[in-house]
């Protein structure tokens, strides 16, 4: 089983609903976030192209943060989700330095925090909060090892990319373009 997310940059309007839904669901303190919106515009007026992405931890299959963590607080959990064990985390920030996606932050309580794919919801049969709230249905979550899953079919059918593939991290967030 390999949990993954496909995010459709064509459907996304960049409203930040995923950000605030994550914050309320996971009680992320105000001033911090586990996911965020990136808008890139290329070209010069009036020949322009725009891409909007909801970004978060890529739950890399080859995660530098897991390698960098001296206490094994960062580890692979169920379905390959990269998880931080708050109890084991000593707040050394090695993972933050190693992450090419800037996906982690130090929680005011001293540990490093980031996207969990809302594993607490997934365990209960729900989608992650960002997926469940997205008004444009831009996000699809599921098991990439299951060839019958929505996400597998979507990623097979559509053109996609991952972020900073040259870092060799093998991300599990697919951006449909």
């Amino acid at each position: 089983m390999r949990y993954a997310m496909a995010i459709d940059t064509k459907r996304c309007v960049g409203c930040s609903d995923c950000v605030v839904a994550c914050q309320t669901e996971n009680k992320v303190p105000i001033g911090f976030c586990r996911d965020w919106i990136v808008e890139t515009t290329t070209g010069t007026y009036p020949q322009l192209q725009m891409e909007i992405r909801s970004e978060r931890c890529n739950h890399c299959t080859d995660a530098p943060c897991v390698r960098a963590c001296p206490t094994k607080a960062s580890h692979y959990g169920a379905g390959g989700i990269v998880t931080v064990d708050h109890e084991e985390c000593i707040g050394c920030k090695a993972c933050i330095a190693s992450c090419p996606y800037d996906a982690r932050y130090v929680h005011p309580e001293g540990y490093v925090d980031k996207c969990t794919f809302c594993i607490h919801r997934v365990e209960q049969g729900e989608h992650p909060a960002c997926v469940a709230v997205c008004p444009t249905h831009a996000m699809t979550f599921g098991d990439m090892d299951d060839r019958m899953s929505d996400i597998f079919k979507l990623v097979s059918r559509r053109k996609w990319k991952t972020l900073i593939p040259e870092a060799g991290t093998r991300p599990n967030i697919y951006y449909l373009i």
């Binding site: 089983m1 459709d8 064509k10 459907r11 996304c12 309007v13 960049g14 409203c15 930040s16 609903d17 950000v19 605030v20 839904a21 914050q23 309320t24 669901e25 105000i30 001033g31 976030c33 515009t41 070209g43 010069t44 007026y45 009036p46 322009l48 192209q49 725009m50 909007i52 959990g77 169920a78 379905g79 998880t83 064990d85 109890e87 084991e88 594993i119 919801r121 997934v122 365990e123 209960q124 049969g125 729900e126 989608h127 469940a132 709230v133 997205c134 008004p135 444009t136 249905h137 831009a138 699809t140 979550f141 599921g142 098991d143 299951d146 019958m148 899953s149 929505d150 996400i151």
Partner: protein, 747 residues
Amino acid sequence: MSKPVSRRDFIRLAGLGAAGLTVASPFFDWKHGEILARDTMPGLYTKRTPTYCEVCFWMCAGWVHHNEDGEIWKITGNEDDPHCNGRFCPRGTGGVGMYYDEDRLKTPLIRTEERGKQVFREASWDEAYTYIAEKMNLIKEKWGPECMALFTHGSGGHYLGNLLRAFGSNNIAAPSYAQCRGPREVGFIGTFGEGIDSPERTDIRDTKCLVLIGSHIGENMHNGQVQEFSDAVDKGATIITVDPRFSIAAGKSKFWLPIKPATDMALLLAWIHVLIYDELYDQKYVEKYAYGFDELKAHVKTFTPEWAYGITTIHPHIIRETAREMANASPSVIVHPGRHVTWYGDDTQRERAIAILNALLGSWGRRGGFYNPAKPSVPTHPHPPYPKPKRDWRYAFPDKYKLAGLALASGLCDATVPGVSRDCNVRGWIVNGTNLIQTLPDQKNTLAAIQALELIVVIDTMPMEITGYADVILPECTYLERYDDLRISAHREGSIALRVPAAEKKYNTKSAWEMARELGMKLGLADYFPFKTQEAELDWQLKEMGLSLDEMRKIGVKKFPRPADDLYPLEGLPDYEFYTNTGKIELYATQFEAEGYPALPTYTAHEEPPYGFYRLIYGRAPMHTFSRTGNNPNLFDLMEENVVWVNPKVAKEWGLRNDQPVWLENQDGVISSSSIKVRVTERIRFDSVYMVHGFGHTNAKLSRAYGRGASDSELITRVHIDPEMGGTGMRGNFVTFRLEGAPEVQS
């Protein structure tokens, strides 16, 4: 001996157990990614109460969830609600911040110094009511009850409106009409006999071509509409966006027409010309339903794409190509009427041109065009007849704005300013949920009106600019702490939604229902408030409909099947009578002609920015609603301030860098009271600047929002009034940059 399990090991083990659970989860069918059972999640949904959102006018229905301690935790959408389809927008999701905002109004206040000085003393509710009732009675005796006016936005308006009508005035206005969507309603009523209303009756879900004229869907987070927009994009619909700014919608469009601002009418007329003279219009539909085609054809003869090119800067071949795209998709095409359309003062006529385009394309009443909404009928509570007012707001404007269908907020404000030759000025205001200082254009005029009042009562949840000028502030509880009127929705299927309190009132606040009733008692109007509790009123209403409050508590939303199969009444071209004078779609508007207005739209050249000035364009951001969410901790976190968008060429001329703070000065020498950061971007024309509306708060009681970004409203001092319906055109203002602000005034 086995090794004792340390706490950390235990947690690791618990994690493994959880992983095991996932595999065996009975709720999630991993094979197909389907949720099997939604509402049976133990732990996730310990307790939930139904509500509908009050952060904007879309009013999506949802559920408020509580944490283990019974406090409000999060809000999610109601799956059965056609406004949101189970998914709230960022503002709705962040609505919790409205409840938790520590800057809220917490107790009734009475002003002790002059208006605007923000010096108040705390008062009891009874004291506040007595003060208001005395002043209202004084106004009634001296000038008549018609001299009281109500400005309102949101669900409190229903109850306060009842109070005002019972008192003897129907001067009840919402800025959502004359400052926003009014021209669209008048333009479409003049053509099809029916307006667009809210939520818009646009069938974006099934459209093949959507034309957006300055309408920035996605940035205006009108939830259901944005959802359908994304579906349409995904399904390959052609999106044509006409906007001086490369909006989010433009980024998803096949055609972006970066039109020179204020020239939309020329483009619309050229499109009409192409549709008619290239015979691309729906001939059968027009022949059967339309009135005045020959007049229209003769009228647009000279409005060629070549003519429009010189005005709009849009190339003729693009005008022709886009017209053909629309015709190819006909009748599943929408030339979107927009929502905030009070731009240049000829807005009703521009909306007429949009309506005419839709008529030529045969999209009204057809799938993928404009559907026919169904609305459930809900009984209102019984009360004695309202006294008939001797005058209303129209009295102040003889022979003006004759097509206005609703009261004008700006009109009531103008009628308050003394020195106008009329025998009744408005003397008292009740302002509920609308920050008139930021909402109405021409702040100087608004302030002059306020200073002339005998009484101004502000009912709000937050200290806003307008509360600073109040004689009495009545603190309203947030929508999460109160019952409210049923939300009655006109949609593909009609529905009602219930709001019940999700928490005890956090402060010494009341709901509009309570305030209207208690104030009504003070004024001796008890007969108009027959119910002792709001629960009893709602239950009575629901029982009349064969439902009950208890049943609604469980479901939140009740949908009603359409009584007839008439969602697309003009499919198959049946006989049909429109609610117009001729019973036809009026390409030539007889109602307009009868009232002395042009029956066919024409292009008027609007003033252009002087040298060194840029047209001020404003719009929305998806995470804020006007100025009302600026201080909401959750939404402030998403967007703390607005920025001014500047084309790189302009930035180079002025030497502006990204994030550099500048002050904006308009054509009348008004300088923004706070600075705004520059965003250098290719996404805007070189003759315009853009900023999101609702920032630059000047009320220091808003601890987060105060002084953040700049206020566009402040810079809108020149207003172009729509002669047909009194809409306030606000896009005829020009600004230039000041690298330093006005010297600080010592206060």
